[in-house]
């Protein structure tokens, strides 16, 4: 058993020797509808505080909600994509509790009549052998609609939490933004892979939201959030253990780490003969631990009842089928198809997926780039920068059209590889399109054969000994000559062309 500064944890392998982990994930997705769930206020991210509000989302006396029809369509499409049943009739419910960032002191949500239920999502985790993937089926309990709360900013105190703060600022711009809550059934049987399954599941949900075009699903902006319920069952027991609910898990990497940490923390408590407290815990990205939040006992009572201000949602089979027809190709199937079309190896495809480049490569190929070049550019420098900056590939000045243009410049022989890399840097530095960058930086291969021939002849004359070796059959010695020609032409020659010229001058077969 090892100990960190805050609380003891049990070695991960030891946890698995004695316990089976059980996990439940709740993912909240903010829909990217133009207006809020129950009023006409805009939903733009990052507006001045309290500028996107009205009597409805401020919960002023007398104000009433009206359901956003696009929001309902979105959740039905999400439900269908998660292989769920869609309720033919369902209602909203009020979840009652007091909190300053909730204008009405109840959240309009759904309770025992979710609009989508009983589905599943197949997620892929890397196979144990390291090549290829294993598919793990995560069962979905429900997906339902609700509204987001406002945002509290607790000022003063050390933790940024409400306890100990000097005062709190409230921004209700987020209040009423449509949220979809997707809840899994208890996930069992993943054993040591549980943290990976957690990450892969959240990644798959994220991918699905983007494919459905219902949310930008950006965890770092809070438009997708995950709560992880984790418990441990002693091996051989059928009795579920006491669970904790970990919040503030704001990246895919955190999902994996938080689940793993909770397994190790609970393992230490149970191995020591203790009992796990049922509570909400907070994940701390910096220290990699969870700490206790409020105790979540069964005494917490939200007094749910059907929302009387909204009429029930009745959905016909025709409506559901019409929405089903709008579903995109499932991301997993699409990846397989594209991998085949592009001729990537499993490893290459894996890199592309983890870089978040599938859509960008698809668009680049559509714009005329080769699959190989598209992969090279999107998983290269820009991916390195995105990873370092915590951004997405699409956040940079590079576009699929630029990738196609760059590839065309290379294939037409205007640029060689090292020049193309310089052009890429210029594009990323927002200097313009690849052609503009190449022009501005004066990057162009020497196309003039006579100039190149002169350079080759000069090098052959200066290196008679090496030239003789090549003539004598040591073709690999030509490399040194090529290097000198490239140097003499300041890199603006095509190395393959130089090689061919040298060999032909020396009368050797290439």
């Amino acid at each position: 058993m090892s100990t960190n500064a805050i609380q003891p944890v049990l070695d991960y392998d030891e946890v698995l020797e004695s316990f089976d982990p059980v996990m439940g994930l709740e993912v909240h997705v903010e829909l990217s509808t133009h207006t809020k769930m129950f009023c006409g206020c805009p939903t733009d991210f990052g507006a001045e505080p309290n500028t996107q509000v009205c009597p409805v989302c401020l919960g002023l006396p007398g104000a009433l909600p009206v359901v956003n029809a696009v929001g309902v369509e979105s959740v039905i499409r999400i439900g269908l994509a998660l292989n769920c049943q869609i309720a033919s009739w369902c209602r909203f419910a009020r979840k009652n509790y007091f909190y300053p960032d909730m204008p009405k002191n109840f959240q309009t949500s759904q309770y025992d009549e979710p609009i989508a239920f009983d589905g599943y999502l197949d997620v892929e985790i890397p196979s144990r052998t390291g090549d290829g993937v294993e598919v793990f089926r995560v069962e979905i309990e429900r997906a339902h609609m609700e509204e987001d709360t406002g945002k509290s900013l607790h000022v003063g105190g050390s933790t940024g939490r409400i306890q100990g703060a000097d005062y709190s600022l409230l921004d209700y711009n987020r209040a009423g933004i449509p949220l979809i809550e997707i809840v899994t059934k208890p996930v069992r049987g993943a054993g040591e892979r549980m943290p990976e399954v957690a990450k892969a599941y959240v990644a798959a949900v994220r991918e699905l939201m983007v494919a459905l075009d219902v949310s930008d699903a950006r965890m770092e902006q809070g438009s997708m959030r995950c709560d992880a319920n984790v418990s441990l069952m002693p091996k051989g027991s059928a009795q579920l253990g006491t669970r904790t609910e970990t919040k503030n898990v704001n990246s895919l990497r955190s999902v994996e780490r938080a689940v793993r940490y909770e397994m190790m923390r609970q393992g230490a408590i149970l191995a020591d003969g203790g009992t796990v407290r049922q509570e909400t815990r907070h994940w701390h990205e910096d220290t990699g631990v969870t700490t206790a939040g409020r105790e979540k006992s069964d005494a917490e009572d939200y007094r749910y009842f059907p929302e009387p201000d909204l009429i029930p949602i009745a959905t016909t089979t025709e409506q559901v089928e019409a929405l089903r027809a709008t579903l995109p190709e499932p991301p997993g199937l699409r990846r397989k198809r594209l991998q085949g079309e592009w001729g990537y190896s499993d490893r290459e495809m894996g890199d592309v997926v983890s870089a978040g480049a599938v859509d960008l490569i698809d668009a680049s190929v559509a714009a005329g780039a080769t699959p190989a070049a598209s992969r090279k550019w999107w998983t290269g420098e820009v991916a390195r920068r995105a990873n370092a900056d915590g951004k997405e590939l699409g956040d940079y000045a590079l576009t699929p059209a630029f990738v196609a243009e760059l590839d065309s410049l290379v294939r037409s022989g205007r640029l060689n590889d090292s020049m193309a890399r310089q052009v890429m840097e210029g594009v990323l530095a927002q200097e313009g399109s690849p052609t503009e960058v190449a022009d501005a930086r004066g990057l162009e291969l020497v196309q003039d054969d006579s100039a190149l021939e002169a350079a080759v002849d000069a090098v052959l004359a200066d290196n008679a000994a090496i030239a003789d070796k090549v003539r004598g059959g040591k073709v690999q010695a030509a490399g040194a000559l090529i290097g000198q020609v490239m140097k003499a032409t300041k890199g603006q020659a095509d190395a393959a062309q130089v090689r061919a010229l040298i060999l032909s001058r020396l009368g050797v077969e290439g």
Binding site: P61, G62, L64, V66, N96, P100, N105, D301, F305, D309
Partner: protein
């Protein structure tokens, strides 16, 4: 013009405005003068907006002088129940909690009234958040019944009823969750209609119990009430429960009053010993008059009505406990930090503000509702109450196969004395025994004057109920009854109401 303009009906005012016999400024000023003279004794208004009312009146007069097409009621003054939000005018719902709050938006009903250019005289008193049958639960003191200032004007809309009965406005708005329009009408000899649920937009009506609340018109005559009904009603996209259908032809019905061949059902469960003798006697006489006018009378039974009050006092507090949760001192309204805490938490400020801002009746219902919705009790209380509600709706469905309208006394007694039932919530709740079933079923109901009780000389009312979206039938029956009874009485009952200033009672 020497006659007192405030004594005219709204329809007569509208005619005289249209003909140019009077101006809206004259009419509005006459009401403002009347308010200044009598409201010290009646205490029907919580806020009077003389300036705003006169500004609208001037505008109407100017537009009319230019020959502009105006709404038939343009220029006829109106009083607004203080539960409806009004831009720029205080809206308290009778609660300390909202003292000084000025809404940034108009209720849909208020927006329609403003668009039709009715000068708004002010906001009328009510039981706090519409919880009560007497206005005694108003945080700003009770209103007094113009028939006897020692008595209650009904509630929660006692401000609106007493405004009408003391000629301080010809029209007023109300809201009816369990009888808050109809019972005040009955005890003041005025008319009030609770429309079909969804007939009038609830947007901007401070919610008591969302599934029961319904805004509606109050007037001194059946026609006036119909004219206001027509103005208030109609689909509103801002209220999801608003019905997207044409407004029933209420004005046409009020002008007709033809009940020949109409089947009138007497609800067996809403008559008998529980009703004061004079109330019952006037009801019987009214039914006889309707029979004489050609209506066919049948007796119907609604066996589940006996559970209506119990179900109502679970559903209402449950919804109210949630609707009133927003009054937490965080964004608007009263904020009272706890006295004995140096650095109070948000939760402590919420608790102490709610402790200070809500009256006893409101707290009682919040506690009952919170309890009824709690896990472990929900099925036994809220769940059972919803089942009763379904059974009551079925009782009505069944009854309406035998009758076109149903009738009953509106309230079991005439106006009781101020303070008489204040310490006995159950006695207070029983006032609404006849009016509550309509709210539970969502059907429309009206109260029209049926006379003065022989034993105490105070007004009694007859309630008419109709199937959903058949609000026009209420006006057929109401108009027929009004016409016949006024012939018997030799004029409106309100001609006999004493002058409030003649009485010594103050405050």
């Amino acid at each position: 013009m020497t006659t007192d303009l405030t004594r005219l009906s709204a329809a007569q005012m509208a005619e005289q405005l249209a003909s140019g016999a009077i101006t809206s400024v004259e009419l509005t000023q006459a009401h403002l003068d009347r308010i200044a003279a009598v409201d010290g004794a009646v205490h029907a208004y919580l806020h009077v907006d003389a300036e705003g009312a006169l500004a609208t009146a001037r505008e109407v007069d100017e537009l009319r002088a230019r020959g502009e097409q105006l709404h038939p009621l343009a220029g006829v003054p109106i009083a607004i129940k203080d539960i409806m939000t009004t831009t720029g005018l205080p809206t308290t719902a009778g609660s300390r909690m909202l003292e000084g709050w000025i809404p940034p938006y108009d209720a849909t009903v208020v927006a329609r009234i403003k668009a039709a250019r009715l000068p708004i005289l002010g906001k009328t008193n009510m039981d706090e958040f519409a919880m009560g049958s007497s206005t005694e639960h108003s945080a700003y003191g009770p209103s007094h019944n113009p028939w006897d200032l020692d008595r209650i004007p009904g509630g929660s809309g006692g401000g609106s009823s007493s405004v009408l009965a003391s000629f301080q406005a010809p029209l007023a708005t109300g809201t009816d969750t369990g009888g808050s329009i109809r019972q005040p009408a009955a005890v003041t000899a005025t008319v009030g209609t609770k429309p079909t649920y969804g007939g009038v937009s609830r947007y901007g009506l401070i919610a008591l119990a969302s599934s029961l609340d319904q805004g509606g018109p109050c007037g001194r005559t059946v026609l006036d009430t119909a004219l206001l009904h027509e103005l208030m009603a109609g689909h509103d996209p801002l209220d999801s429960t608003s019905i997207d259908q044409p407004v029933p032809p209420v004005v046409e019905a009020a002008r007709s009053g033809d009940v020949a061949g109409l089947r009138i059902g007497i609800v067996k469960e809403l008559t008998g010993d529980a009703y004061q003798p004079g109330v019952q006697a006037n009801f019987d006489a009214a039914v006889a008059a309707l029979t004489a006018a050609g209506a066919e009378v049948v007796e119907v039974s609604c066996p589940h009505f006996q559970y209506a009050l119990a179900a109502y006092y679970l559903i209402l507090p449950s919804e109210a406990s949630s609707n009133l949760a927003r009054f937490d001192a965080m964004r608007y309204g009263l904020r009272v930090p706890p006295a004995d805490v140096a650095l109070p938490s948000a939760e402590q400020v919420m608790a102490s503000s709610r402790e200070a801002g809500f009256g006893e009746e409101v707290k009682r219902r919040i506690i009952i509702g919170t309890y009824a919705l709690s896990s472990g009790y929900y099925d036994a209380y809220y769940g059972q109450a919803q089942k009763v509600r379904t059974l009551i709706a079925r009782d009505f469905e069944q009854a309406f196969t035998q009758a076109d309208v149903l009738v009953s006394p509106t309230a079991p007694t005439t106006a009781f004395r101020l303070g008489e039932k204040l310490d006995d919530p159950m006695a207070m709740y029983l006032n609404d025994i006849a009016t509550i079933p309509a709210n539970l079923a969502g059907i429309p109901g009206m109260s029209v004057p049926s006379g003065l009780a022989a034993e105490d000389g105070l007004p009694t009312g007859l309630q008419v109920l109709a199937p959903a979206m058949a609000d026009d039938r209420l006006y057929l029956v109401g108009a027929a009854l009004e016409r016949m009874l006024q012939e018997q009485w030799g004029g409106p009952l309100l001609d006999r109401v004493p002058e409030p200033t003649q009485l010594s009672k103050e405050g």
